[in-house]
Structures are given as C-alpha cells and as structure tokens.
Symmetry: C4
Subunit: 288 residues, 4 copies
C-alpha cells in the first residue's frame, strides 16, 4: 500500500490524522473505537448465524447490522473526503475490504439474496492488526514474516512434494480399497490422503483391507516424520534472522560495504580498520 496523503489543510488534515494515523490521542481513540465496532459487527454476524439466536434476537441483529453498516459507510465517506487521491485508497487492499464489508447490506435492498454475503464482513477483522500494531505486537511479528519470506521457496517445494506423494499413494489406495469404505474416486482418495498425512484423521473414510491399512501406516509415518522438514528449515531461518541482528549496520569507512559482524575490527572486504574513533597504527595490526 502506497502512503496515502491528506487532501489539504485544516479540517481534512485533522481528519486524516485521526483516521489514518495513530500518533495523536484522537487517532488512537479512533482506531480503538473502530476495532470495537468491527468486533461488534463480527459478533452480530456470528450470533445471527446460530438458528436459535436468529429466531429470538433476529430483529435486534437486523438493526445492529444497519447501524454498523451506516457507521462503516460514514467511515468510508470520511476516508474519501479527507484524502488527496481517494481512488488510491479505494484500490488499496484495505479499501477493497472496507467497501466489500458494507456492500452486501446495501445490495440486499435491491437483491434480497445478497444478505447472505454479509459474512464477507468478517474480512474486516484484518483491520484489527492496526490495534495490534499499536500494542507493538506486530513489530515482533516482523521476525516471523522475515523468516517466512526466506523459507517460502523451501516450504512451497515441500508442499508440492507432499501433494505428489499423496496423489501417488492415494491412487494406490483407490485401487486397493473397496468403494464402500469411502474411496469412491481418486479425488476423494486424495482428500483422505491429506487428512491422513497431516495427521488430522477425521475418520470419515478409513481403510478396511489389511493392505490398505498397511499403506495408510506408510502415509501416517511419512506425515509424522516429514513435518520435521518445514519445522527444521523454518527454525534455521529464524535463528539466522536473529543472528543477523548480530551484524552491525555501520558501513566500512574504507570501501563503504555493509554486513560486518559486530565483533569485527577490520573490514572483511578491504581490510580497513572499522572503529573510526581510535587511530589505527599498523604495528597494532597483528595484535587482535
């Protein structure tokens, strides 16, 4: 998301500071109020989906939904009003979610069925990350995200290999097991294979022949062991990331290169003395 800029000075700038920033007390208050409103709207959506609550409190949920929709729409209006380039906001990730959250209720006025899509509103919970950011929890998540980015290729390769392994094993099971056991097609056998390999094990489909059970054992042991792969790779990446904090941010005064370990005294690229504050007499060079 590119940085959004306020539309002008005065009221619009103040609104911008309140809505888009959280450095001022009012800005923080707005973020917290919005988070509470989102939680309320989510609670309404969740409870309204329960049949007994819907029958008993359906009307209240209906009013609550309209109040929430009105407030969310007002919020979108204010965001558009105080921005210099509102289109940029509307095309951004959060902008799309904001609009999607209110759309179903408005659409329901003309299309009765659209009401069901109010579930989309749950996506707005992503806005809650804003509050976490204020709690400086997200900063800690940077480590997770960094390590995830670096291990992404390996995790994808791992998942691809897992999928191929499951496909091959599942086809064998499909040939062996009778359809009555639930293995009615290869896609269904693959579903069962993933349920087994990931050690979820619903038990809605289970092998009944001794050979099928033997192959299941192979899949289970494989799933049980290869979890070590993504965990191992990710652990190593996290440790690496933590270690990178060991590297100094300082550039070498000689060649300008970075990535010197914090305990390095000479640039590993050009041999220049790294501590500028002290003089670097050549006779001291061998003394390290």
């Amino acid at each position: 998301m590119q940085p959004l800029k306020p539309a002008g000075v005065g009221l619009r700038t103040r609104l911008f500071q309140i809505i888009f920033e959280s450095s001022t007390p009012l800005g923080k208050g707005f973020d917290i109020a919005l988070a509470l409103l989102i939680l309320l709207s989510v609670t309404v959506v969740l409870l309204d989906s329960v049949e007994t609550y819907h029958q008993r409190y359906g009307d209240y949920f209906y009013y609550a939904e309209w109040v929430v929709t009105a407030l969310f729409t007002l919020e979108i209006g204010l965001r558009i009003y105080c921005l210099e380039k509102p289109i940029q906001y509307l095309k951004s990730f959060y902008g799309v979610i904001d609009v999607l959250a209110v759309l179903p209720t408005w659409l329901a006025l003309v299309l009765p069925g659209a009401q069901t899509l109010v579930v989309i509103r749950l996506l707005r919970t992503l806005r809650l990350f804003r509050v976490l950011e204020m709690m400086s929890l997200v900063g800690q998540g940077k480590l997770l995200v960094d390590a995830m980015k670096r291990s992404r290729g390996q995790i994808m390769l791992f998942l691809f290999s897992v999928m191929m392994l499951v496909t091959i094993f599942s086809s064998i099971i499909y040939l062996i097991e009778p359809a009555e056991a639930g293995f009615t097609s290869i896609p269904k056998a693959i579903y069962w294979g993933i349920v087994t390999l990931t050690t979820v094990g619903y038990g809605d489909i289970t092998p009944v022949t001794p050979l099928g059970q033997f192959i299941s054992i192979m899949i289970m042991l494989t799933g049980y062991s290869i979890i070590a792969l993504p965990v191992g790779v990710f652990s190593a990446e996290v440790i690496q990331t933590l270690r990178n904090e060991r590297y100094s941010d300082e550039a070498c005064p000689g060649c300008g290169k970075h990535q010197h370990e914090r305990d390095a005294r000479y640039c590993k690229f050009c041999g220049t003395w790294l501590n500028e504050e002290t003089t670097n007499p050549p006779e001291e060079k061998p003394a390290s």
Copy 2:
C-alpha cells in the same frame, strides 16, 4: 507472591520453618506428606466421579473427603497462626487455592448443591510443584519459562492470525456446506475449523461437498505447515537462552573480543587474564 514472614519466635517460627520452608528434614517431610495428601484427595475426587465406584464405595469416599477437608482446614489454620501477616497469605495465589479447596465441602453443609464444586480441589495439584522444586526439576524449567516469556509476543500474534484465518475459512465453509453435515452456524464452523487446523480431527463434523473438502485440504495443509512458526521461534529462543547462559557479556581487556564462556579465566584468543579485579601485567595489554 511476596515473601511471607513468621509471626514471632518459638513455636510459631518453628511451625513456619516446617510449613513454608523445606530446608529442614521436618519441612521436607511436611511437603511430602502434603503432596501425598493432595494426591489422595485428587484420587478420591477422580474415583468418586466414576458411577460404579460411587455406588460401591460412595460412603468411604464421603468419609475420606471429610478427613481430607479437616486436614486441609487444619493446615490453613496453622499457616494463618504462624504468619505475621496472614491476610497476605490468604490473598496470595496459593492461599486462594487452599481456601477454595476446602470451601465446597463446608458449604455443602448449608447448600446441598455445593458438593459438586469439590472438583475445584483439583487445583491444589498445583501445590505439587513444591515437591518438584525439591527434586530440582523446576530449576530446569526456568529455561522453558524464560524462552516462553521471550517468545510470548510472537506466539500470541501467531494465535491471533490463526484465529482470523480460521474465522475467514470457516465462514466460507459455512456458506458452502449443507447444515446436515454439521455446519449449522458460523461458531460451529469455527469449532470445526480449529479441530481441523490443529490437526485434532475429531470427525464429528466433516465436509461432504467436493468444494468443502477442497477448502478443508487448504486448512489442513495450512495447519500442518504453520506449526513450524511457533516451533521455529521457540527453538531459536531456547538456543539463544542456552547460549546467553554459557557466554559472559564481558569483553577481554586484552583484545576486546567477546564470546568468552563464563568459566573461562583467560581469553581464548590472546591469553589475557579475564578478571580485571586481579592485577594483570600492563605490558601484555595491547591497546584495542
């Protein structure tokens, strides 16, 4: 819990040493006796909840419960008697548990239903950590607790993201799957989502439509892979904690290098004496 102090000298001090400390043989004996009594009371509660045992040995369990309650009440009385500030104890974590453990039985004299709450007594098992402490097992747990504290923020962020992911996936499943499959409401779909993502997989609710099964596969693979995140972060923290324990933060006065093990007396790089408080020939100290 703030340190508790004995109420005076003589008998009360001796009682304090026996009940609250475990440095004397009598103190150790008291802790072990209390642990055995707690285990007995827990066993009674557990067995009494089994219908067949309750019918056959219900009377004995009733007597045992009263004996245990009497002894626990006596123990609380002694603790209060030998302390200088008994209120401080009663407000402490263990104090509350101690009182809660005897309360239901006494309450049952006036309120018949209170009997059911005797289950609260199980909380007293926390007192067993006292015996573990004597076995110097808890000391080893410090590493676990330290690493947990340092990775707490990341684990919480992880759980929050997991919850949001599950909420969004579960809502989709709720829209797709028929209510007969068990997805009668979004909260129930979330329950199913957690059962699936954590790879528990009861199988009480399972998707029946191909699309629902496909989304289930996504959730399973996600749950199977992202377990790498908390494990990786926690492993890194434990390794960090272990390393910090081994290496001193002090730099060598001779060559300025860090990373000396805590038991090292001479720098492993230049042979300089590491303890500054002792004299150290200045001619061996090159300027760093």
Copy 3:
C-alpha cells in the same frame, strides 16, 4: 541418471536441445508444454475416476486419454530418435516412468483390464519437477535434501524404535481390549497403535476399557513428545548445513583463525588478505 548425449548433428541435435535441455526458448517451451500436457492427463485420470463425471463425460475422457497417449508415445519416439544411446534413457528412472505412463492404454487394446492401470500415469507428475527446476525452486530444495541425507540414519533408527515401541504397546492392548472394540488381531492393534502414536486418530478403533484407555494415553503422550526427536535432529542438520554454506573452510594465513564468511576478503580478526594466490606482504604475516 547419467548424462544423455545427442545421437549426431543437425536435426537430432536440435531435437535433443529442445527435449532434454531448457537453455533455449524452444527447450523451455517444450518443458512447459509437456508440464501442461501432464497436468491435463492427470486431471483426466482424476475426473474419470469420479462416477458421475465418468457417466456424463466418459467418452470425452476416453478420447482425451488416447490423444494424451499418442502425444506421450510420440514424445518417447522423439527422445529415442535423438539420443545416441536410447537404451540408457529407457533404463533411466524417468525413461521407465515415461513408458509405464503409456503402456496401460496400449495394453488395454489386447487386455481389457489393463485400463485400470492408467492410474500409473500419475507417476509422470514427477516430470513436473523439471518446471520447478526452471523456476529455480529445486535449487532451494538442495538444502532440504542435504540435511535429509545427513539425518537419514537417525530418522531410520527413530522409525525403527517407534515401530518396536508400537508393536510392544499394541500387543498389550490386544491382550487387554475385547475383540468387539476392534482389536481383533495384533496386526490390527499395531495399525491402531500407529494411528494413535502419529496422532492421526481416525477413531475407527478406540479403546473401551479403562486400562486400555490408560495405555492409549501413554502411547499418545509418547507420540506427542517424541516427534521432538526427528524435528530436533533435522533442525540441527539444516542449521549446520546453512552454516557450512556461509563459512569458508580456509584458515586465515595471518592469524590462523577459521570461521571466515565465504565472501570475506580480509580476515575479520587481524586484517590479513585471505586469498593466498595474490601477493600478500610477508611482513604482515606473524608466525602462527
């Protein structure tokens, strides 16, 4: 797989470059086209196994299968044509898979039942690794494979110990639990034991006696804890592998210290030039 060589010059060499290599645009195009064809053939096999699709689109699947078979057979023909030693290819891993993928359809002309074996075609998905290779994803997998090779012995020992543990526990359960609960034979009890230890937990067989449930708890806790073994070993190996990649094995010619990063040109401890092949002022080299 030994390197395969083209049969001659001209057309056959060009064909070789297209089919077996992916350095030219045509070669890349061939690999991608083949990958798409494989995905198509896999999709056909998967969908044809679904009863409703088979009844509705069975004919189209039949034609698609023959088109795919024809193209795959043509591909094998071209591979044989442009190679110097085609036998070497036919005996290679991928050669066997290539032939196995087309065999069932051709065999079905004489042996009606052979049709079922068309599932073998799914093995051809292994060819998809070729496309991953181009996406330079496989290179990242080298780390996984290296660490797997190094931890193989320990993982095998782990699996063997697990199998023995399960065998012993399962025999005990077999003696304790009634046959009605599903424990009809020791092999079946072992199947249940693996289902339990790997935390899959189908629930198709579950213990019903208190003693059986107690032993199940032992197996579950064991399975839950010992997953730490392969994960721990593998994590350590990945970390080791990553470290080995970053640090050079060479010692500094100046101070004899190791642990220089591969991209270092000067020793980070004493500032000596690390590449011996270049001249390096001898007066800067203290005897080590």
Copy 4:
C-alpha cells in the same frame, strides 16, 4: 549391563566369541541368523493372532512356535554354558527377555492358559538392535540418546505440567458436558483431554455444548502451540551436542583441564599455550 566374560578357553571361548561378539564372521553370522529367527517368531505370533490365519494355518504356527522355542532354549543353554558367571547374564536386561520369550510355551505344557502370554516374545525384537549396531546405525543414535538424557528433566516437567493442565480443563468439561456426550466420569474426561491436547482426536467422545466446544478449542490451541516446548528444548540440545563435537578432547598441558574449543590457542583456565608442538614465545602472545 556389565561386560560378560567367557568361562574358559577352547570351545567355550570360541562359542563366547560367536554368540556374544560380532567381530568374527561367524559371530556376525550368528547375530544375523538370530535376527532372522526373531523376525520369524514375531511373524508367527502376529499372523497367529489373525483369526482366519489361525483357523487355516494354526497347526503350522504351532509347530513353528515349538521349533522357535526349542532353538531359543538351545541358545540360552549355549549362552549359560560358555559364560564364566551365567547368573550375571540371567539377571541382565537381555537375559530376562530371553527367558521370558521361551517361558510361556514351556509353561503351556502344565498351564494351558499360559499360551496367551507368547506375545511376550515380541520383546525379543529388542535383540534386533544388535544387528542395527553392526550396521553402525546405533552409533548415530548416540546423538539422540545424549540429547534425550540432557533434556529429560525438562521433558518430564513439561509432561507433568501438561497432565495438570489436562486434569483441570477436563474437570471443567466434566461439569459442563452432559454424560450422554461420553463425559461420564473425570478419568474419562481426562482421557478425552489427552486425546484432544495431543491432537490425536479419535472422536469417540466429543463436546456437544457450545461452552464445552469453546473449552475444547482452548485445549486444542494449547496442545497445538505447546508442542513447541519439547521440540524447542530438544532441538537446542541436539545443536548443543553437535557443537560439543567442536570441543577438543585434548587436556591443557598447563592445568590439565578439558573442554577447550577446537580453535582455542590458549587455555581458558590458566592461559597456557595449547599447541605443544610449537614453542610458545611470549612475544607471540598478542599475535593471534
């Protein structure tokens, strides 16, 4: 197990070398033959437990069992014959297992029911570790065992905490959920709690009330997250153990202490120059 010694010279010494050692070809052959015999006996026990096989091949299994018993008994006889202190062998771990493996069959001659205990024979599979030892696989397991020993205290503390957590959570579930859902007693609720926390999830007992499902979610998320604890601790221990291989076995020539890192040049305890082969002139001291 203390080292066993041969009874004398000549035949008994040669027998000792064959049976107890595996340095000679005959000794290796004996170990492999014994391993195969054990596998045969295990296979017979497993297959005989399958009802259909028992009815069809019961007689053959009966003969096979007697042959195996006779050979195992002969083996014990030979072991006793060639040892100086046979009692020491009979009291050893493997000695007890060897006798237990043949006892049920002999006992069945006088006590018909003893036959069932033939399952104990499965314990003899432990002897298979002998063959693994020859394959030098066990040596690799030393790392696992070392790391397990060092993390044992923490893993035990972890399991104890898990048990207490489960007990408390399960009691709450027992109070909330109706008995019809399967939560008929606290021990049964604890069984369910372990099934849930270890993510096994049989599904034989599942919560049906919303509150029960909410608490189940807590247990699942706990179980899903805290697996990071033993894995993290164990990973750290394995890495530590691997790093210890970095320590030199050499003692300091000055103070005789061990545990110097391989790249250390001066003793970290007394500052003595560690490389004995080179002279240690004091002017070289700062040059490291």
